[in-house]
């Protein structure tokens, strides 16, 4: 009798152990796939670039969402200065531009601080300067909530102009018209 009980107890213990093992495996938390993470932490932004038709073109791009609003604005600007992905659009500065700081004040003025690469070897000409400035302003105003105008800072200083023509020593307003969107 005792031998029979011993066998029964051993079988029961083995079954319980198997059950525990199987339940543990069954209820292990699922490992999230990469697509799931991307979907949770990205956003779409509108970037503006000079087009070969002479105006501006808008390029929608999915970017990784950052933490604070300032970090998000920095991300948008870095994407802008990475250049366009679409053909027919031009980079604002083919050599690349460093985005140093971003700050939005309570009055809606966005301060965008860039390194001096943006003034190194510019294409020149009023038209390209107009387009470059408007591309930056439109991109910031479109993507940063509360931004209504933009003050450019280059190499730590407020510049008189970007490339020698148009005033940048005061905040540039958000473009009121779509005059530069295509020519």
């Amino acid at each position: 009798v005792s031998r029979r009980w011993t066998v029964l107890i051993a079988v029961a213990l083995l079954g319980a152990a198997l059950l525990v093992i199987l339940r543990t495996v069954r209820y292990e938390p699922p490992v999230p796939g990469p697509a799931f993470v991307e979907a949770e932490h990205t956003r779409w932004v509108d970037l503006y670039f000079p087009s070969e038709k002479g105006g501006l073109v808008m390029e929608a791009r999915e970017v990784r969402a950052a933490g604070s609003a300032n970090e998000e604005a920095m991300t948008v600007l870095k994407e802008l200065f990475r250049g366009p992905l679409s053909s027919g659009a031009h980079s604002l500065s083919p050599g690349g531009v460093g985005v140093e700081r971003f700050f939005l004040d309570t009055a809606g003025t966005a301060y965008v601080s860039l390194d001096s690469a943006i003034v190194t070897d510019p294409p020149g000409g009023t038209r390209s300067e107009q387009l470059c400035l408007e591309a930056i302003v439109r991109t910031v105003v479109s993507n940063v909530r509360g931004a209504r105008r933009l003050q450019l800072v280059i190499g730590g200083r407020v510049p008189e102009t970007l490339w020698g023509h148009l005033r940048t020593d005061m905040p540039l307003p958000a473009p009121a018209t779509a005059s530069l969107l295509g020519e």
């Binding site: 002479g54 009023t126 038209r127 390209s128 008189e160 020698g164 148009l166 005033r167």
Partner: protein, 476 residues
Amino acid sequence: MRVLALLLAAATASSSAAEITVVGPGSRREAVDTWRVGDAEYVPVRVLSVLLGAKQLWHAELRKMTLEWEEGPVILVPGSHFVIAGEHSLQLTAPVALRSGEMWVPLELFKEPAASFSGLGLRWFDAERVVSRRGRETSLERATLEGWGDTLTVFMEIAGEAEPSLRHEGKRVSVHLPGASAGVGVPGSLGGGGPANDVRVVEDPAGVTVLVDLRGDARSTLEPAADGAVLKVWVTSQAPGPAIREVSATPTVVVDPGHGGRDPGATGKGGLREKWVTMKAARLLREELLKRMPSVRVVLTRKGDVMVPLKQRTEIANKERADVFISLHANFSYNRDARGMETYFLSLAKTDEERAVAAMENAPLAKEASWEAGQPSGELEFILWDSAQTAWLDQSQDLARHIQDLAARRGLGSRGVKQAGFYVLSGAYMPSVLVEVGFLSNRSEEASLKDERHLRKTAEVVADGAVQFLRRRSAG
């Protein structure tokens, strides 16, 4: 912040500069010490209130001072580059300053061109370092001359009671108006004509003198006229004939070849640089202007391949008291097919509505600046700057239209009149335009811009447009 910067600058770089003499009401003279901060020389605000006979009022809440004067208040804001005087507003290169509890104004306010544009009637005599105010009683409002063959007639329009006196010594004739001042529109030189090499108007603390330098012996008379006096000079014994028509004073056109030196501007695919195009075009424009209007004085902001800061370019135009400022540039577009000529004038904001919005949007900035940081109001800055520039916008647009109409008619590919916020136009106190003569990004237009015949044709269009504008303005 700006006030703080100014105070820091004052602590490090200020010094008692020199002395000036203030000639106040009743010809009372007073020596006043000035104060120098960097390049700027300052005088205490009481100099201004003495000359204007104005009462000083300090508005602590608004951090501004008003001088109550008979023709409207003069508003001074510490740290601001603007001075508003009645309907006039003026942008100075140095800000109004506070020092030891007293307001100081840049001496620049008393000098030309600021003195003329302020409407305060201030006069500065550089050699004597004397500052006074234009007497309201007597002034030479207008001086024009007509020179034909052996005769010269100088018409002097005088406001107020005047007792002009004539002196004739050898080859120099002079008409002196004691205690008078020269009106804002009276140029220093009227040019020459007939028997005169040169006719000049000289103003000093004693009054105004019209000086005629003759080529040889001549006779002269001074005759009273309904609105002033007429000086007649003739070589032979014949009596001078009657005046037939007025000839306008010598106009001045300042031509600004864009870029230069280490700033090449745009560069075409073929290697043509904007700074070369603008220099060549400027020289041709000068030639064409002189062909059309021999009396015109043309001043170039740069003489060769040198870098001239943008601010300095309009300062030259202001200093020369130019009638017109024309900046020449060549354009560059990402669109390789873009071509043609376009003329810009300054954009403050494109429509009245946009201006109102711009002013409104400056209001929160203004409050923050004035209440928290002690800075001048951003709103006030905007309004002052805006009104200083608005006066010239209509005329600048008119000048731009003259040029572009001709460009269209002569097949230069007109892209029309446009507005933009050009830095080089924003400090000019006169009608001013920026002409884009063509696109260096277009291969065929780059080739045209290399060709002197094409550039001359462009210069002819700009010269004709400017001359048409000047004639219409002097007639109107």
